[in-house]
Protein backbone atom coordinates (compact mmCIF):
# COMPACT_ATOMS: atom_id res chain seq x y z
CA UNK A 1 0.00 0.00 0.00
CA UNK A 2 2.95 2.32 0.55
CA UNK A 3 3.63 2.97 -3.08
CA UNK A 4 0.05 4.05 -3.80
CA UNK A 5 -0.29 7.80 -4.14
CA UNK A 6 -1.91 9.29 -1.05
CA UNK A 7 -5.52 10.37 -1.59
CA UNK A 8 -6.59 13.89 -0.60
CA UNK A 9 -6.91 14.32 3.19
CA UNK A 10 -10.70 14.71 3.25
CA UNK A 11 -11.22 11.41 1.50
CA UNK A 12 -8.95 9.71 3.99
CA UNK A 13 -11.12 10.81 6.83
CA UNK A 14 -14.40 9.94 5.21
CA UNK A 15 -13.69 6.81 3.20
CA UNK A 16 -13.07 4.32 6.01
CA UNK A 17 -16.19 5.31 7.89
CA UNK A 18 -18.39 5.19 4.79
CA UNK A 19 -16.84 1.87 3.96
CA UNK A 20 -17.43 0.27 7.35
CA UNK A 21 -20.91 1.69 7.60
CA UNK A 22 -21.81 0.26 4.23
CA UNK A 23 -20.19 -3.05 5.16
CA UNK A 24 -22.15 -3.09 8.39
CA UNK A 25 -25.38 -2.42 6.54
CA UNK A 26 -24.58 -5.16 4.06
CA UNK A 27 -23.77 -7.59 6.86
CA UNK A 28 -27.02 -6.77 8.60
CA UNK A 29 -29.08 -7.21 5.46
CA UNK A 30 -27.33 -10.50 4.76
CA UNK A 31 -28.16 -11.82 8.20
CA UNK A 32 -31.75 -10.60 8.02
CA UNK A 33 -32.29 -12.31 4.68
CA UNK A 34 -30.80 -15.59 5.90
CA UNK A 35 -32.45 -15.50 9.31
CA UNK A 36 -35.80 -17.12 8.42
CA UNK A 37 -34.19 -20.05 6.59
CA UNK A 38 -31.58 -20.57 9.30
CA UNK A 39 -34.17 -20.33 12.07
CA UNK A 40 -36.37 -22.95 10.40
CA UNK A 41 -33.45 -25.31 9.83
CA UNK A 42 -32.27 -24.95 13.42
CA UNK A 43 -35.75 -25.39 14.92
CA UNK A 44 -36.85 -28.32 12.80
CA UNK A 45 -33.60 -30.27 12.42
CA UNK A 46 -30.90 -29.20 14.86
CA UNK A 47 -33.18 -28.93 17.89
CA UNK A 48 -34.96 -32.27 17.28
CA UNK A 49 -31.58 -33.89 16.78
CA UNK A 50 -30.41 -32.73 20.20
CA UNK A 51 -33.78 -33.77 21.57
CA UNK A 52 -33.29 -37.23 20.01
CA UNK A 53 -29.95 -37.57 21.79
CA UNK A 54 -31.65 -36.61 25.07
CA UNK A 55 -34.49 -39.09 24.45
CA UNK A 56 -31.99 -41.83 23.70
CA UNK A 57 -30.64 -41.47 27.24
CA UNK A 58 -34.08 -41.92 28.82
CA UNK A 59 -36.27 -44.84 29.68
CA UNK A 60 -39.32 -43.51 27.87
CA UNK A 61 -42.02 -45.87 26.64
CA UNK A 62 -45.33 -44.20 25.85
CA UNK A 63 -47.14 -47.47 26.61
CA UNK A 64 -45.97 -47.14 30.22
CA UNK A 65 -47.04 -43.59 31.14
CA UNK A 66 -45.25 -41.85 33.97
CA UNK A 67 -42.26 -44.16 33.85
CA UNK A 68 -39.64 -41.82 32.46
CA UNK A 69 -36.13 -41.78 33.88
CA UNK A 70 -32.54 -41.06 32.90
CA UNK A 71 -30.80 -44.36 32.20
CA UNK A 72 -27.48 -43.22 30.71
CA UNK A 73 -26.28 -45.35 27.85
CA UNK A 74 -28.47 -48.32 28.70
CA UNK A 75 -30.62 -47.95 25.55
CA UNK A 76 -27.49 -48.03 23.42
CA UNK A 77 -26.34 -51.20 25.18
CA UNK A 78 -29.77 -52.71 24.57
CA UNK A 79 -29.61 -51.88 20.86
CA UNK A 80 -25.98 -52.82 20.27
CA UNK A 81 -26.30 -56.17 22.05
CA UNK A 82 -29.47 -57.12 20.20
CA UNK A 83 -29.27 -59.49 17.30
CA UNK A 84 -31.93 -57.45 15.50
CA UNK A 85 -29.77 -54.32 15.20
CA UNK A 86 -26.86 -56.22 13.66
CA UNK A 87 -29.11 -58.20 11.32
CA UNK A 88 -30.73 -54.95 10.11
CA UNK A 89 -27.36 -53.26 9.89
CA UNK A 90 -26.08 -56.09 7.70
CA UNK A 91 -29.21 -55.98 5.51
CA UNK A 92 -28.85 -52.23 5.05
CA UNK A 93 -25.16 -52.57 4.20
CA UNK A 94 -25.82 -55.35 1.68
CA UNK A 95 -28.56 -53.38 -0.07
CA UNK A 96 -26.42 -50.21 -0.07
CA UNK A 97 -23.31 -51.87 -1.48
CA UNK A 98 -25.22 -53.86 -4.11
CA UNK A 99 -27.32 -50.97 -5.34
CA UNK A 100 -24.66 -48.25 -5.26
CA UNK A 101 -22.13 -50.55 -6.96
CA UNK A 102 -24.54 -51.44 -9.75
CA UNK A 103 -25.64 -47.84 -10.10
CA UNK A 104 -22.06 -46.66 -10.51
CA UNK A 105 -21.47 -49.04 -13.42
CA UNK A 106 -24.85 -48.46 -15.09
CA UNK A 107 -24.79 -44.73 -14.34
CA UNK A 108 -21.34 -44.38 -15.88
CA UNK A 109 -22.51 -46.20 -19.01
CA UNK A 110 -25.55 -43.97 -19.20
CA UNK A 111 -23.47 -40.83 -18.65
CA UNK A 112 -20.97 -41.81 -21.36
CA UNK A 113 -23.86 -42.51 -23.71
CA UNK A 114 -25.41 -39.11 -23.09
CA UNK A 115 -21.99 -37.42 -23.32
CA UNK A 116 -21.15 -38.92 -26.69
CA UNK A 117 -24.62 -39.27 -28.20
CA UNK A 118 -24.88 -37.75 -31.64
CA UNK A 119 -28.65 -37.63 -31.43
CA UNK A 120 -31.36 -38.91 -29.10
CA UNK A 121 -29.70 -37.12 -26.18
CA UNK A 122 -32.83 -35.17 -25.39
CA UNK A 123 -35.07 -38.24 -25.57
CA UNK A 124 -32.74 -40.18 -23.29
CA UNK A 125 -32.48 -37.36 -20.78
CA UNK A 126 -36.22 -36.84 -20.63
CA UNK A 127 -37.02 -40.52 -20.21
CA UNK A 128 -34.49 -41.15 -17.44
CA UNK A 129 -35.92 -38.26 -15.45
CA UNK A 130 -39.15 -40.26 -15.09
CA UNK A 131 -37.62 -42.86 -12.73
CA UNK A 132 -35.89 -40.03 -10.87
CA UNK A 133 -39.12 -38.11 -10.34
CA UNK A 134 -41.51 -40.98 -9.73
CA UNK A 135 -42.72 -41.57 -6.18
CA UNK A 136 -40.57 -44.27 -4.54
CA UNK A 137 -43.64 -46.02 -3.16
CA UNK A 138 -45.10 -46.19 -6.68
CA UNK A 139 -41.85 -47.61 -8.07
CA UNK A 140 -41.79 -50.17 -5.27
CA UNK A 141 -45.35 -51.28 -6.06
CA UNK A 142 -44.65 -51.46 -9.80
CA UNK A 143 -41.70 -53.80 -9.29
CA UNK A 144 -43.46 -55.77 -6.57
CA UNK A 145 -46.46 -56.42 -8.83
CA UNK A 146 -44.15 -57.32 -11.72
CA UNK A 147 -42.58 -60.05 -9.59
CA UNK A 148 -45.77 -61.31 -7.93
CA UNK A 149 -46.79 -64.79 -9.14
CA UNK A 150 -50.08 -64.92 -11.06
CA UNK A 151 -50.02 -61.16 -11.44
CA UNK A 152 -46.71 -59.99 -12.81
CA UNK A 153 -45.24 -60.42 -16.25
CA UNK A 154 -41.83 -61.52 -14.99
CA UNK A 155 -42.88 -65.08 -14.25
CA UNK A 156 -44.79 -65.27 -17.53
CA UNK A 157 -41.74 -64.10 -19.47
CA UNK A 158 -39.30 -66.34 -17.60
CA UNK A 159 -41.81 -69.17 -17.57
CA UNK A 160 -41.49 -69.98 -13.85
CA UNK A 161 -43.82 -69.80 -10.87
CA UNK A 162 -41.28 -68.47 -8.45
CA UNK A 163 -42.48 -66.44 -5.44
CA UNK A 164 -39.66 -63.88 -5.55
CA UNK A 165 -40.57 -61.84 -2.49
CA UNK A 166 -40.88 -64.82 -0.15
CA UNK A 167 -37.24 -65.90 -0.35
CA UNK A 168 -34.28 -64.08 1.07
CA UNK A 169 -31.91 -63.79 -1.88
CA UNK A 170 -34.61 -63.01 -4.42
CA UNK A 171 -36.14 -60.43 -2.08
CA UNK A 172 -32.78 -58.66 -2.06
CA UNK A 173 -32.73 -58.95 -5.84
CA UNK A 174 -36.11 -57.25 -6.28
CA UNK A 175 -35.32 -54.53 -3.71
CA UNK A 176 -31.94 -53.81 -5.29
CA UNK A 177 -33.44 -53.76 -8.77
CA UNK A 178 -36.07 -51.23 -7.68
CA UNK A 179 -33.46 -48.99 -6.05
CA UNK A 180 -31.12 -49.22 -9.03
CA UNK A 181 -33.90 -48.44 -11.47
CA UNK A 182 -35.05 -45.44 -9.50
CA UNK A 183 -31.70 -43.84 -8.64
CA UNK A 184 -29.32 -44.66 -11.52
CA UNK A 185 -30.58 -41.58 -13.43
CA UNK A 186 -29.52 -39.26 -10.61
CA UNK A 187 -26.10 -40.91 -10.47
CA UNK A 188 -25.70 -40.66 -14.24
CA UNK A 189 -26.56 -36.95 -14.29
CA UNK A 190 -23.94 -36.22 -11.64
CA UNK A 191 -21.39 -38.26 -13.60
CA UNK A 192 -22.40 -36.53 -16.83
CA UNK A 193 -21.64 -33.17 -15.22
CA UNK A 194 -18.24 -34.61 -14.24
CA UNK A 195 -17.56 -35.85 -17.77
CA UNK A 196 -18.12 -32.34 -19.08
CA UNK A 197 -15.02 -31.09 -17.24
CA UNK A 198 -12.67 -33.65 -18.86
CA UNK A 199 -10.77 -31.61 -21.45
CA UNK A 200 -11.30 -32.83 -24.99
CA UNK A 201 -7.63 -32.16 -25.90
CA UNK A 202 -6.46 -34.75 -23.37
CA UNK A 203 -8.64 -37.36 -25.08
CA UNK A 204 -7.33 -36.36 -28.48
CA UNK A 205 -3.73 -36.46 -27.30
CA UNK A 206 -4.22 -39.95 -25.87
CA UNK A 207 -5.88 -41.01 -29.12
CA UNK A 208 -2.91 -39.75 -31.14
CA UNK A 209 -0.60 -41.70 -28.83
CA UNK A 210 -2.49 -44.83 -29.81
CA UNK A 211 -4.49 -45.43 -26.61
CA UNK A 212 -7.53 -47.69 -26.98
CA UNK A 213 -10.97 -46.46 -25.95
CA UNK A 214 -10.75 -48.46 -22.71
CA UNK A 215 -7.29 -47.10 -21.91
CA UNK A 216 -8.48 -43.58 -22.57
CA UNK A 217 -11.40 -44.14 -20.22
CA UNK A 218 -9.38 -45.64 -17.35
CA UNK A 219 -6.22 -43.55 -17.73
CA UNK A 220 -7.60 -40.17 -18.79
CA UNK A 221 -11.32 -39.82 -18.16
CA UNK A 222 -11.64 -41.55 -14.78
CA UNK A 223 -8.68 -39.87 -13.03
CA UNK A 224 -9.77 -36.42 -14.23
CA UNK A 225 -13.34 -36.83 -13.03
CA UNK A 226 -12.52 -38.65 -9.81
CA UNK A 227 -13.97 -35.78 -7.79
CA UNK A 228 -17.33 -36.02 -9.51
CA UNK A 229 -17.37 -39.81 -9.05
CA UNK A 230 -16.70 -39.47 -5.33
CA UNK A 231 -19.38 -36.81 -4.89
CA UNK A 232 -21.90 -39.00 -6.74
CA UNK A 233 -20.91 -42.04 -4.65
CA UNK A 234 -21.14 -40.05 -1.41
CA UNK A 235 -24.60 -38.67 -2.21
CA UNK A 236 -25.96 -42.04 -3.21
CA UNK A 237 -24.34 -44.04 -0.39
CA UNK A 238 -25.78 -41.75 2.28
CA UNK A 239 -29.13 -41.86 0.54
CA UNK A 240 -29.08 -45.64 0.13
CA UNK A 241 -28.13 -46.22 3.74
CA UNK A 242 -31.36 -44.68 4.96
CA UNK A 243 -33.48 -46.84 2.63
CA UNK A 244 -37.00 -47.23 3.95
CA UNK A 245 -39.84 -46.84 1.42
CA UNK A 246 -38.98 -49.67 -0.98
CA UNK A 247 -38.46 -52.31 1.69
CA UNK A 248 -41.51 -51.18 3.65
CA UNK A 249 -43.75 -51.62 0.60
CA UNK A 250 -42.23 -54.77 -0.84
CA UNK A 251 -41.50 -57.01 2.15
CA UNK A 252 -42.30 -55.02 5.31
CA UNK A 253 -38.95 -56.33 6.47
CA UNK A 254 -39.72 -60.04 6.00
CA UNK A 255 -36.98 -62.52 4.97
CA UNK A 256 -34.28 -60.60 6.87
CA UNK A 257 -34.66 -57.54 4.66
CA UNK A 258 -35.53 -55.13 7.49
CA UNK A 259 -33.30 -52.04 7.35
CA UNK A 260 -31.99 -49.81 10.13
CA UNK A 261 -34.44 -47.01 9.27
CA UNK A 262 -37.30 -49.52 9.55
CA UNK A 263 -36.03 -50.70 12.92
CA UNK A 264 -36.07 -47.08 14.11
CA UNK A 265 -39.56 -46.56 12.70
CA UNK A 266 -40.92 -49.72 14.33
CA UNK A 267 -39.51 -48.79 17.72
CA UNK A 268 -40.57 -45.14 17.56
CA UNK A 269 -43.94 -45.20 15.86
CA UNK A 270 -45.31 -48.73 16.23
CA UNK A 271 -44.02 -49.53 19.71
CA UNK A 272 -43.84 -45.88 20.77
CA UNK A 273 -40.67 -46.71 22.68
CA UNK A 274 -39.07 -43.30 22.31
CA UNK A 275 -35.98 -44.20 24.35
CA UNK A 276 -34.81 -47.27 22.45
CA UNK A 277 -36.10 -45.91 19.15
CA UNK A 278 -34.10 -42.71 19.56
CA UNK A 279 -31.00 -44.74 20.37
CA UNK A 280 -31.45 -46.50 17.02
CA UNK A 281 -31.90 -43.14 15.24
CA UNK A 282 -28.82 -41.67 16.90
CA UNK A 283 -26.76 -44.71 15.93
CA UNK A 284 -27.97 -44.46 12.34
CA UNK A 285 -27.09 -40.77 12.33
CA UNK A 286 -23.58 -41.53 13.64
CA UNK A 287 -23.11 -44.21 10.98
CA UNK A 288 -24.06 -41.77 8.25
CA UNK A 289 -21.66 -39.16 9.65
CA UNK A 290 -18.92 -41.79 9.75
CA UNK A 291 -19.55 -42.74 6.10
CA UNK A 292 -19.43 -39.06 5.13
CA UNK A 293 -16.13 -38.53 7.00
CA UNK A 294 -14.58 -41.57 5.32
CA UNK A 295 -15.62 -40.26 1.90
CA UNK A 296 -14.35 -36.77 2.57
CA UNK A 297 -11.03 -38.22 3.78
CA UNK A 298 -10.73 -40.28 0.61
CA UNK A 299 -11.70 -37.21 -1.36
CA UNK A 300 -8.93 -35.12 0.19
CA UNK A 301 -6.35 -37.87 -0.24
CA UNK A 302 -7.25 -38.09 -3.92
CA UNK A 303 -7.10 -34.37 -4.46
CA UNK A 304 -3.70 -34.32 -2.79
CA UNK A 305 -2.54 -37.11 -5.02
CA UNK A 306 -3.69 -35.35 -8.15
CA UNK A 307 -1.94 -32.16 -7.07
CA UNK A 308 1.19 -34.07 -6.13
CA UNK A 309 1.35 -35.71 -9.54
CA UNK A 310 1.13 -32.38 -11.23
Amino acid sequence: MTDVAAPPPTAIRRAPRAHTERAREERKLGWYLCAPAVAVMLLVTAYPLVYAVWLSLQRYDLRVPGDQAFVGLRNFVTVLTSELWWRDFLATTVITVLSVGLELVLGMGLALFMHRAVFGRRTVRTSILIPYGIITVVAAFAWQFAFTPDLGFVNTWLNTDRAWLTERSTSYLVITLTEVWKTTPFMSLLLLAGLAIVPEELQEAAKVDGATAWQRFTKVTLPTMKGAVLVALLFRTLDAFRIFDTVFVQTRGANDTETVSMLGYNQLINRVNLGVGSAVSVLLFLTVVLIAILFVKGFKADLGQVRGER
Binding site: A52, S127, A228, D245
Partner: protein, 275 residues
Protein backbone atom coordinates in the same frame (compact mmCIF):
# COMPACT_ATOMS: atom_id res chain seq x y z
CA UNK B 1 -21.48 -47.24 -44.32
CA UNK B 2 -19.82 -46.03 -41.13
CA UNK B 3 -22.44 -43.34 -40.68
CA UNK B 4 -25.17 -45.95 -41.01
CA UNK B 5 -23.55 -48.13 -38.39
CA UNK B 6 -23.14 -45.20 -36.04
CA UNK B 7 -26.74 -44.25 -36.54
CA UNK B 8 -27.86 -47.80 -35.76
CA UNK B 9 -25.71 -47.90 -32.61
CA UNK B 10 -27.12 -44.69 -31.16
CA UNK B 11 -30.67 -45.61 -32.14
CA UNK B 12 -30.49 -49.03 -30.49
CA UNK B 13 -28.88 -47.49 -27.42
CA UNK B 14 -31.60 -44.88 -27.16
CA UNK B 15 -34.33 -47.51 -27.51
CA UNK B 16 -32.78 -49.67 -24.77
CA UNK B 17 -32.47 -46.75 -22.35
CA UNK B 18 -35.99 -45.51 -23.01
CA UNK B 19 -37.32 -49.06 -22.50
CA UNK B 20 -35.35 -49.33 -19.24
CA UNK B 21 -36.78 -46.08 -17.96
CA UNK B 22 -40.36 -46.57 -19.03
CA UNK B 23 -41.11 -50.31 -18.69
CA UNK B 24 -42.19 -50.21 -15.01
CA UNK B 25 -44.29 -47.11 -15.69
CA UNK B 26 -45.95 -48.73 -18.70
CA UNK B 27 -46.50 -51.87 -16.63
CA UNK B 28 -48.31 -50.11 -13.79
CA UNK B 29 -50.38 -48.15 -16.33
CA UNK B 30 -51.28 -51.39 -18.07
CA UNK B 31 -52.26 -53.00 -14.74
CA UNK B 32 -54.51 -50.06 -13.95
CA UNK B 33 -56.40 -50.55 -17.23
CA UNK B 34 -57.05 -54.28 -16.74
CA UNK B 35 -60.43 -55.55 -15.65
CA UNK B 36 -60.92 -57.42 -12.39
CA UNK B 37 -60.97 -60.86 -14.03
CA UNK B 38 -57.96 -60.31 -16.34
CA UNK B 39 -55.85 -58.61 -13.67
CA UNK B 40 -54.07 -61.82 -12.77
CA UNK B 41 -53.41 -63.09 -16.29
CA UNK B 42 -49.73 -62.23 -16.01
CA UNK B 43 -49.68 -60.47 -19.39
CA UNK B 44 -47.77 -57.25 -19.84
CA UNK B 45 -50.50 -55.58 -21.87
CA UNK B 46 -54.20 -55.63 -21.05
CA UNK B 47 -56.48 -57.69 -23.32
CA UNK B 48 -59.16 -55.05 -23.17
CA UNK B 49 -59.09 -51.59 -21.71
CA UNK B 50 -61.31 -50.64 -18.81
CA UNK B 51 -61.41 -47.54 -16.65
CA UNK B 52 -63.17 -49.39 -13.84
CA UNK B 53 -60.23 -48.96 -11.43
CA UNK B 54 -60.14 -45.22 -11.98
CA UNK B 55 -63.85 -44.86 -11.44
CA UNK B 56 -63.68 -46.82 -8.21
CA UNK B 57 -60.78 -44.86 -6.68
CA UNK B 58 -62.39 -41.53 -7.49
CA UNK B 59 -65.60 -42.70 -5.87
CA UNK B 60 -63.88 -43.63 -2.61
CA UNK B 61 -62.64 -41.07 -0.10
CA UNK B 62 -59.69 -43.37 0.49
CA UNK B 63 -57.95 -41.84 -2.51
CA UNK B 64 -59.60 -38.47 -3.11
CA UNK B 65 -58.82 -37.04 0.31
CA UNK B 66 -55.17 -38.11 0.31
CA UNK B 67 -54.84 -36.72 -3.21
CA UNK B 68 -56.18 -33.39 -2.01
CA UNK B 69 -53.79 -33.51 0.96
CA UNK B 70 -50.84 -34.35 -1.28
CA UNK B 71 -51.52 -31.48 -3.67
CA UNK B 72 -52.17 -28.94 -0.91
CA UNK B 73 -49.26 -29.93 1.32
CA UNK B 74 -46.75 -30.19 -1.54
CA UNK B 75 -47.72 -26.79 -2.99
CA UNK B 76 -47.65 -24.97 0.35
CA UNK B 77 -44.32 -26.55 1.32
CA UNK B 78 -42.87 -25.63 -2.07
CA UNK B 79 -44.04 -22.04 -1.74
CA UNK B 80 -42.48 -21.48 1.69
CA UNK B 81 -39.28 -23.38 0.97
CA UNK B 82 -38.67 -21.40 -2.22
CA UNK B 83 -39.55 -18.10 -0.54
CA UNK B 84 -37.12 -18.60 2.36
CA UNK B 85 -34.45 -20.08 0.10
CA UNK B 86 -34.68 -17.18 -2.36
CA UNK B 87 -34.07 -14.64 0.40
CA UNK B 88 -31.12 -16.60 1.78
CA UNK B 89 -29.64 -17.42 -1.64
CA UNK B 90 -29.84 -13.79 -2.73
CA UNK B 91 -27.88 -12.75 0.34
CA UNK B 92 -25.35 -15.55 -0.14
CA UNK B 93 -24.82 -14.77 -3.81
CA UNK B 94 -24.68 -10.98 -3.60
CA UNK B 95 -23.83 -9.72 -0.14
CA UNK B 96 -20.68 -9.92 1.91
CA UNK B 97 -21.27 -11.08 5.48
CA UNK B 98 -19.61 -13.52 7.86
CA UNK B 99 -21.29 -16.86 8.45
CA UNK B 100 -22.11 -17.43 4.80
CA UNK B 101 -19.97 -20.50 4.53
CA UNK B 102 -21.35 -21.87 7.78
CA UNK B 103 -24.89 -21.59 6.43
CA UNK B 104 -24.00 -23.44 3.23
CA UNK B 105 -22.11 -26.17 5.09
CA UNK B 106 -24.84 -26.54 7.69
CA UNK B 107 -27.45 -26.79 4.97
CA UNK B 108 -25.42 -29.48 3.23
CA UNK B 109 -25.16 -31.44 6.48
CA UNK B 110 -28.92 -31.31 6.90
CA UNK B 111 -29.46 -32.51 3.36
CA UNK B 112 -27.36 -35.56 4.14
CA UNK B 113 -28.75 -36.69 7.42
CA UNK B 114 -31.32 -39.45 7.72
CA UNK B 115 -34.88 -38.19 8.36
CA UNK B 116 -35.54 -41.12 10.70
CA UNK B 117 -33.18 -39.56 13.25
CA UNK B 118 -35.63 -36.74 13.94
CA UNK B 119 -38.87 -38.70 13.52
CA UNK B 120 -39.10 -39.55 17.24
CA UNK B 121 -38.68 -35.98 18.52
CA UNK B 122 -41.00 -34.57 15.84
CA UNK B 123 -43.62 -37.20 16.70
CA UNK B 124 -43.42 -36.20 20.36
CA UNK B 125 -43.27 -32.44 19.72
CA UNK B 126 -46.11 -32.50 17.20
CA UNK B 127 -48.36 -34.32 19.68
CA UNK B 128 -47.87 -31.65 22.33
CA UNK B 129 -48.09 -28.76 19.82
CA UNK B 130 -51.27 -30.23 18.26
CA UNK B 131 -49.50 -30.50 14.92
CA UNK B 132 -49.77 -34.29 14.74
CA UNK B 133 -51.96 -35.39 11.84
CA UNK B 134 -52.38 -31.87 10.41
CA UNK B 135 -51.26 -30.20 7.17
CA UNK B 136 -48.70 -27.91 8.88
CA UNK B 137 -47.34 -31.00 10.61
CA UNK B 138 -46.10 -32.21 7.21
CA UNK B 139 -45.51 -28.84 5.54
CA UNK B 140 -42.93 -27.87 8.18
CA UNK B 141 -40.63 -30.91 7.84
CA UNK B 142 -40.95 -30.88 4.02
CA UNK B 143 -39.96 -27.26 3.66
CA UNK B 144 -37.10 -27.73 6.11
CA UNK B 145 -35.65 -30.78 4.44
CA UNK B 146 -35.83 -29.14 1.02
CA UNK B 147 -34.37 -25.78 2.10
CA UNK B 148 -30.75 -26.95 1.70
CA UNK B 149 -31.30 -28.17 -1.85
CA UNK B 150 -33.21 -24.99 -2.71
CA UNK B 151 -30.55 -22.71 -1.18
CA UNK B 152 -27.72 -24.49 -3.00
CA UNK B 153 -29.50 -24.52 -6.34
CA UNK B 154 -30.61 -20.90 -6.09
CA UNK B 155 -27.33 -19.46 -4.86
CA UNK B 156 -25.46 -21.26 -7.66
CA UNK B 157 -28.00 -19.79 -10.05
CA UNK B 158 -27.98 -16.27 -8.64
CA UNK B 159 -24.20 -16.10 -8.89
CA UNK B 160 -24.52 -16.33 -12.68
CA UNK B 161 -26.97 -13.45 -13.00
CA UNK B 162 -25.42 -10.25 -14.44
CA UNK B 163 -26.60 -7.92 -11.67
CA UNK B 164 -25.01 -4.88 -13.34
CA UNK B 165 -28.02 -4.89 -15.67
CA UNK B 166 -30.13 -3.63 -12.80
CA UNK B 167 -27.97 -0.54 -12.40
CA UNK B 168 -27.81 -0.10 -16.15
CA UNK B 169 -31.61 -0.02 -16.29
CA UNK B 170 -31.68 2.57 -13.51
CA UNK B 171 -29.16 4.70 -15.34
CA UNK B 172 -31.47 4.48 -18.34
CA UNK B 173 -34.22 6.04 -16.24
CA UNK B 174 -36.04 3.05 -14.76
CA UNK B 175 -37.17 3.28 -11.13
CA UNK B 176 -35.56 0.73 -8.77
CA UNK B 177 -38.80 -1.24 -8.73
CA UNK B 178 -39.07 -1.22 -12.53
CA UNK B 179 -35.45 -2.31 -12.79
CA UNK B 180 -36.15 -5.15 -10.41
CA UNK B 181 -39.39 -6.23 -12.11
CA UNK B 182 -38.35 -5.89 -15.74
CA UNK B 183 -34.72 -6.98 -15.46
CA UNK B 184 -34.02 -9.07 -12.38
CA UNK B 185 -37.26 -11.05 -12.06
CA UNK B 186 -37.13 -12.44 -15.61
CA UNK B 187 -33.48 -13.42 -15.09
CA UNK B 188 -34.07 -15.05 -11.71
CA UNK B 189 -37.38 -16.74 -12.51
CA UNK B 190 -35.91 -19.86 -14.21
CA UNK B 191 -33.73 -20.60 -11.17
CA UNK B 192 -36.59 -20.09 -8.76
CA UNK B 193 -38.72 -22.35 -10.90
CA UNK B 194 -36.08 -25.06 -10.97
CA UNK B 195 -35.79 -24.98 -7.20
CA UNK B 196 -39.57 -25.14 -6.91
CA UNK B 197 -39.76 -28.26 -9.07
CA UNK B 198 -37.10 -30.07 -7.04
CA UNK B 199 -38.81 -29.13 -3.77
CA UNK B 200 -42.17 -30.25 -5.13
CA UNK B 201 -40.70 -33.63 -6.14
CA UNK B 202 -39.44 -34.17 -2.60
CA UNK B 203 -42.72 -33.26 -0.90
CA UNK B 204 -44.74 -35.27 -3.42
CA UNK B 205 -42.48 -38.29 -2.94
CA UNK B 206 -42.07 -38.43 0.83
CA UNK B 207 -43.29 -41.50 2.64
CA UNK B 208 -41.52 -41.69 6.01
CA UNK B 209 -42.80 -38.40 7.47
CA UNK B 210 -46.21 -39.05 5.95
CA UNK B 211 -46.73 -42.37 7.72
CA UNK B 212 -45.07 -41.28 10.97
CA UNK B 213 -46.75 -37.93 11.53
CA UNK B 214 -50.28 -38.70 10.34
CA UNK B 215 -52.92 -41.18 11.44
CA UNK B 216 -56.06 -40.40 9.44
CA UNK B 217 -57.21 -39.25 6.03
CA UNK B 218 -57.37 -35.66 7.27
CA UNK B 219 -53.69 -35.18 6.42
CA UNK B 220 -52.40 -38.48 5.05
CA UNK B 221 -50.79 -38.03 1.62
CA UNK B 222 -51.05 -40.39 -1.34
CA UNK B 223 -47.79 -42.37 -0.80
CA UNK B 224 -48.85 -43.13 2.76
CA UNK B 225 -52.44 -43.87 1.75
CA UNK B 226 -51.24 -46.27 -0.97
CA UNK B 227 -49.41 -48.38 1.57
CA UNK B 228 -52.59 -48.71 3.63
CA UNK B 229 -55.09 -49.10 0.77
CA UNK B 230 -57.68 -51.68 1.65
CA UNK B 231 -59.73 -52.05 -1.55
CA UNK B 232 -63.48 -52.19 -1.97
CA UNK B 233 -64.02 -55.30 0.07
CA UNK B 234 -61.88 -57.20 2.49
CA UNK B 235 -61.44 -60.11 0.12
CA UNK B 236 -60.54 -58.16 -2.97
CA UNK B 237 -56.87 -57.46 -3.57
CA UNK B 238 -56.57 -53.70 -4.12
CA UNK B 239 -53.94 -54.16 -6.85
CA UNK B 240 -56.09 -52.46 -9.50
CA UNK B 241 -56.85 -49.50 -7.25
CA UNK B 242 -53.20 -49.09 -6.25
CA UNK B 243 -52.15 -49.18 -9.91
CA UNK B 244 -54.75 -46.58 -10.90
CA UNK B 245 -53.81 -44.29 -8.00
CA UNK B 246 -50.12 -44.75 -8.87
CA UNK B 247 -50.78 -43.61 -12.43
CA UNK B 248 -52.72 -40.53 -11.28
CA UNK B 249 -49.91 -39.35 -8.98
CA UNK B 250 -47.28 -40.02 -11.66
CA UNK B 251 -48.99 -37.73 -14.19
CA UNK B 252 -47.80 -34.44 -12.61
CA UNK B 253 -44.24 -35.80 -12.54
CA UNK B 254 -44.36 -36.74 -16.21
CA UNK B 255 -45.75 -33.34 -17.18
CA UNK B 256 -43.08 -31.47 -15.19
CA UNK B 257 -40.32 -33.64 -16.63
CA UNK B 258 -41.53 -33.20 -20.21
CA UNK B 259 -41.72 -29.43 -19.94
CA UNK B 260 -38.75 -28.68 -17.73
CA UNK B 261 -36.23 -31.48 -18.31
CA UNK B 262 -33.37 -29.11 -19.08
CA UNK B 263 -33.93 -27.07 -15.93
CA UNK B 264 -34.30 -30.12 -13.71
CA UNK B 265 -30.96 -31.47 -14.92
CA UNK B 266 -29.29 -28.10 -14.40
CA UNK B 267 -30.74 -27.82 -10.90
CA UNK B 268 -29.73 -31.33 -9.88
CA UNK B 269 -26.13 -30.89 -10.92
CA UNK B 270 -25.60 -27.22 -10.02
CA UNK B 271 -25.00 -27.77 -6.32
CA UNK B 272 -23.17 -31.06 -6.66
CA UNK B 273 -20.44 -30.03 -9.08
CA UNK B 274 -19.52 -26.86 -7.26
CA UNK B 275 -19.84 -28.43 -3.83
Amino acid sequence: MKVDRDRAFWTIGTVIIVAYALTPVAWIASLSLKTGDTLTDGRFLPRSISFENYRSIFESGEFVRPLRNSIGIALIATFFAVLLATLAAYAIARLRFPGKKLILTGALAIAMFPPISIIGPLFNMWRSLNLYDTWPGLVIPYMTFTLPLAIWTLSAFFREIPWELEQAAQVDGATPFQAFRRVIVPLAAPGVFTAAILVFFFAWNDFLFAISLTSTDSSRTVPAALAFFSGNSQFEQPTGSIAAAAVIVTIPIVILVLIFQRRIVAGLTAGAVKG
